[in-house]
Amino acid sequence: MFTLPFDLLLIFTVASPILGWVSPKQYRAKICGVFAAAALVVVGVALFGLYQDVVANAAVYLPSNALNFATLRVDALSIFMTAIFLGLGFAATIYSIAYVENSGRTPFYFTLILALISGMVGIVFAGDLLALYVFWELMSISSYALVAFFKEEGTPIEAGFKFLIMSAAGSATALFGISLIYGLTGTLNFEGLVAALSGATPNAWIYLAAVFVFVGFGVKTAVFPLHTWLPDAYSAASAPISAILSGIVIGPGVYALAKVFFTAFLPIQTAWTLAFAVLAVVTMLIGNITALRQTDLKRMLAYSSIGQVGYMLIGFAAASQLGLTGTFLQFFNHALMKGCAFLCAGAIIYRLGSRDISGMQGVGRKMPLTAFAFAISVAALVGLPPLCGFPGELTLFSSAVQADLTWLGVALLLNSVISAGFYLRIVYVLVQPVSSPAVEKIKESPLLMLIPILALMVLIILFGVWPDPLVNFAGDAANALISLGGNP
């Protein structure tokens, strides 16, 4: 049907509720969780096979011989994004097995995770805006359901609804923008768009379409001022879902923006680079400064995600191969770092039962491994070497300097310092002496939660100490996009 890894993913998604239905009641959650995790591993293996094809042919089209009519187009960028979707999805699934209780609905939880990942993989595999939009909706609808999934508490549903309305309005706006692009060019295929619009004289319609598309995809990316839903949704969702949402659901937004702006909107590039530069600075400032005054651990992490999105936008402003490398690198690393941080936060909240940072004094002494992983992940988020945040932020910084936007680079450094203020505050609280009886009672997180946390931590260190393969990969991904636009 589609390519092998994607076919497998969709089949597994559909199969998982059936499996939940036939499996014995008391093991239902475990069986479905293990099945989802195994499915992601199988897809990962299949993805490697596809990667070989991509390396050989630069891009894989589907239908295989249709250059300008292909619905799916898989290049290095798609593989790059899919790898992290599957990786973090896998970690969150393993973690979920320990996190969610067994109930009749649990199998659907894993189905939704698989559907969410299918949607994201579909977005990055899409060769035209139609396919992209279809999978965008698949991703969005699963994510609404996931945020509101644990309906026993009030806030997830409320947050889910707020998220749903804003995000759905965003999708519709993107759809409106896509319709305008369609009206301008008569095609939706990315290569077709490049061919139709390259050398076109900028007119009001292009700008209008760009604004609609930016607003539409920007909602999911949480660019200022479209970010207000994010802290609610991320902090209300359960820990593994927050990790997925914050770590990788930002990705399709960044990807879609990059894909559209670096193909269809190349003729008006000079206009949007500056806009992105300003938005980058505002977004990172808003995110980091608001995070400074949060008392809720998950909300703080959620706001810091907005700051990280601001970093990623620097690559758009630089609009160069180096800048895009930085953006994708930062996205990849952010998925690892923020995923790890949210999983750790989830483990702490799971044990402690409270999300208030001031009540966490001494947690580090009771849960040393979790706290250590947490410290590593936030240190990486600040951008300290030798952790994986460093090469990403360094690349972005130098791309800004290279594009004569030194002020943007300086803003990045400043924000990194501001963010150190709240990130390290959490670590500070965690390592304080134990002061409350609630903390006295807790113990180290369960093994199944600890495994994904530590695995992510190892990756954070590994990609910091040995960044070359990842930077190379991100560079290939950026090249794939640049060469698609045909305008390096």
Partner: protein, 104 residues
């Protein structure tokens, strides 16, 4: 055939009405209707552009996109209404201002 501009004015007007609805209404169901309006504004665009793509010829791409998008909007409504039902059961209201826990 009417001029393209009339259809565009209509779809933009529908879009703006949708946004206005999202910005001012407090009833959860009405908010959903606002989203639906946005989607439909886009759908009208697709149909219009498909018809005007080439003289005497209708582009099937726009029509198929509109059809798929209607289907997706249906799926969206299903999930959204389920959430609304849950909210109504919990709080006994459909007024978004009374869901104050997350303001800010």
């Amino acid at each position: 055939m009417l001029d393209l501009a009339y259809y565009l004015i209509f779809s933009f007007a529908l879009y703006i009405v949708g946004i206005y609805c999202l910005a001012t209404k407090r009833n959860l169901i009405r908010l959903l209707l606002g989203v639906e309006m946005l989607v439909n504004a886009a759908n009208i665009n697709f149909i219009t552009f498909a018809a005007y793509a080439a003289p005497g010829f209708v582009d099937s791409l726009g029509h198929s996109f509109a059809a798929i998008s209607i289907g997706l909007a249906g799926a969206l409504s299903a999930v959204a209404l389920a959430v609304v039902v849950l909210l109504y059961r919990r709080y006994g209201t459909l007024d978004s201002d009374e869901l104050k826990q997350l303001r800010g």
